[in-house]
């Protein structure tokens, strides 16, 4: 019975949204360094490009307002301006200053690999090479050779000792890096230890490099995303437990909090686009988008946000709340972990349908042979209760698996 309720609660809403679901089109918001305001591009049946004052633009005009983003196009059409804000534009400098970063909740909520490759940071070679071994940081820092599947004792001792001497408390609770050879250079890993201290660990000419980063009192990180940008201003974006975003500057290890406000890393996206003049920090969650423009010294210049109706407030969502008590699902767009997620509908309209179905079930029962009211009530109380609680799912389940043990 429970199985049938679960099967119905998984399959029916899925089918419903497959049929009636509509895509949510998030407007694309970018700060214009020409007009010093936000430009908005809306996709949909017709493409609308406008600014926050309500002026509408053609595609060409829109691109000219965002020369840092559309530089290639503007150069091709010959409409790229020579100076912006009195600064002569050099294509190489613009390219150098460009950076894109995206955080999505499933970056954080995903199984840890547990093993990471430690690259040689100063190999003297132009390209990075995949090391032969992988490390884990449990009760010590341990390197396992992939070919033999055996621990390299000497290297493990060397690195464990280096960590230990810098005050590292084993084991590591978070290891963040860019484990790929397709990056411009290697900066190792940022590691959070068991005492919530932050360390920078890398391998320089075969020797460990360990640096303890001084943190403000009580700062705990939810997520660390290392970056590899051409301008080499910082190692990583760090999101703390309160949802604030920090950067860790290159070489001098300063933690700088971005004045962009907090967000919920469990359910919201964050994008950071850097260009020659500004940083655009864009938060996107269920029913809203919020953009903050920063200057190159990370001071806040402007902010703009929009909200729209979430799915459950739209006609198809309202119909959904009438029909179904909620949804049961394993997957979530915000996590790579599977577990049973029960989402009860925000409005309890479904209770009417549940009661109606329970009444219908009761009527069907009383039409059967040899049933008396008392027998009906006592024998099928469980069924009726299931229908009231789980609505249409329970109604189907009860009728597929009749509770005949009570006969």
């Amino acid at each position: 019975m429970l199985v049938a309720v679960m099967a119905a609660a998984t399959a029916l809403p899925q089918l419903y949204w497959m049929i009636f679901g509509k895509p949510v089109r998030t407007p694309f918001i970018m700060y214009s360094c020409v007009d010093d305001l936000f430009m908005i591009q809306r996709t949909g049946e017709t493409m609308v490009r406008e600014d926050t004052r309500g002026n509408q633009y053609t595609r060409e005009e829109y691109e000219e307002k965002l020369p840092m983003l559309y530089m290639r196009q503007l150069m091709l059409s010959g409409t790229m301006m020579d100076t912006i804000r009195g600064i002569a534009i050099d294509a190489r400098e613009v390219n150098n200053a460009r950076s894109t970063f995206r955080y999505k909740p499933s970056d954080r909520y995903t199984p840890d690999p547990g093993l990471y490759p430690l690259f040689e940071a100063e190999s003297g070679r132009a390209n990075l090479e995949m090391p032969e071994d992988y490390f884990r940081i449990t009760w010590r820092m341990e390197f396992t050779d992939a070919k033999t599947n055996k621990v390299d004792e000497e290297k493990s001792r060397l690195f464990s000792a280096a960590l230990y001497h810098k005050g590292f408390q084993f084991p590591a609770v978070k290891i963040a890096g860019i484990p790929t050879t397709r990056k411009s250079c290697d900066e190792g890993y940022l590691v959070v230890d068991a005492a919530h201290q932050l360390f920078h660990v890398k391998m320089v000419r075969g020797k460990p490099y360990v640096r303890n980063v001084e943190l403000p009192e009580g700062l705990r990180f939810e997520h660390i995303a290392c970056v590899d940008f051409r301008d080499r201003l910082y190692y990583a974006y760090l999101i703390d437990k309160g949802g604030e975003t920090w950067i860790l500057t290159q070489d001098d290890y300063m933690l700088v909090k971005l004045p962009v406000g907090s967000f919920n890393p469990a359910s919201e996206d964050m994008r950071i686009y850097g260009d020659f003049f500004n940083y655009n920090v864009i938060f996107n969650g269920d029913g809203f988008v919020r953009a903050v423009a920063l200057d190159k010294d990370f001071n806040k210049i402007d902010e703009y946000g929009e909200t729209w109706k979430i799915r459950m407030e739209l006609p198809e969502g309202k119909a959904f709340t009438w029909l179904f008590p909620g949804t049961l699902k394993l997957e979530s767009p915000n996590s790579n972990f599977l577990k049973f997620r029960v989402e009860v509908n925000p409005v309890a309209r479904w209770i009417w349908l549940s009661l109606a179905l329970a009444a219908l079930h009761f009527l069907l029962l009383s039409r059967g042979k040899g049933y008396t009211l008392r027998k009906n009530l006592t024998g099928h109380l469980a069924d009726l209760a299931i229908i009231v609680v789980s609505g249409i799912f329970g109604f189907l389940a009860v009728n597929i698996f009749p509770n005949r043990f009570f006969d």
Binding site: M6, P111, P113, L115, M130, P131, N149, T180, K339, I400
Partner: protein, 223 residues
């Protein structure tokens, strides 16, 4: 004595199917590791580990539907002969309580599946220790556990459907099974199933008693 001969009857029904299935499944596991060995030789172990750790390569994915197939094969072998001429009614005329004889059949099937799956599981873990570190093995274990549970779930649901006397109900049960079993087989990143395993295990245990429904209805003489 009666119970022993009943068990013997179950064994006679399933033995060839079970042995053949086990043989094929063991061959599948062997193939997985032949493949692993081949890929490691051709791509170097460090690169192969990299595919697994950071690119979501699941080296054991061949195993996905194998336990499911096992559950179905066993259920068909064990229960289909009972529906021919409604032979199961004979079982119910034996001087053993009816639910007990049904439960006994089911326990027998469960134990057969368990033995077979345990063999596959241990083979998988044992052999993977040759090439892989604990982290990789652990995430593989988390990924394959729901697949093995799916085998049990399929066995119970198939038994329920096969023993069900009324065709309409059979189809309804089939629909429920078709909506339910995919919960065990949802694609996920290696290790992603971790938080769901306990719930799936409990559900599978619950399913194991579902068979009693059909048996109950069968002996009530519903057609």
């Amino acid at each position: 004595m009666l119970i022993r001969s009943m068990i013997f009857k179950e064994w006679v029904k399933v033995r060839w199917f079970l042995l053949l299935y086990t043989l094929l499944a063991v061959l599948a596991v062997a193939y997985i590791f032949i493949r692993v060995r081949h890929d490691i030789t051709f791509h170097e172990a460090n690169n192969y580990w990299y595919f697994i750790l950071f690119q979501g390569h699941s080296w054991f994915r061949l195993l996905r539907y194998i336990p499911l197939a096992g559950g179905l094969v066993l259920a068909v072998a064990q229960y289909f002969p009972e529906t021919v001429n409604k032979r199961i009614k004979l079982t119910f005329h034996l001087p053993v309580e009816e639910n007990r004889s049904l439960l006994m059949m089911m326990q027998f099937g469960t134990l057969c599946l368990l033995a077979c799956f345990l063999l596959l599981f241990l083979l998988l873990c044992g052999l993977s220790r040759v090439w892989f570190p604990t982290e990789i093995i652990f995430s593989a274990v988390v990924s394959v556990t729901p697949w093995f549970l799916a085998g049990f779930a399929a066995y119970y649901l198939a038994a329920l459907i096969i023993l069900e006397p009324v065709w309409l109900r059979r189809i309804l049960y089939l629909l429920v099974a078709a909506a339910f079993v995919p919960l065990y087989l949802t694609g996920s990143v290696p290790g992603g199933y971790g938080p769901a395993i306990l719930a799936l295990f409990l559900l599978t245990c619950l399913l194991s008693v579902a068979l009693l429904f059909s048996g109950y209805r069968f002996r009530k003489g519903e057609m």
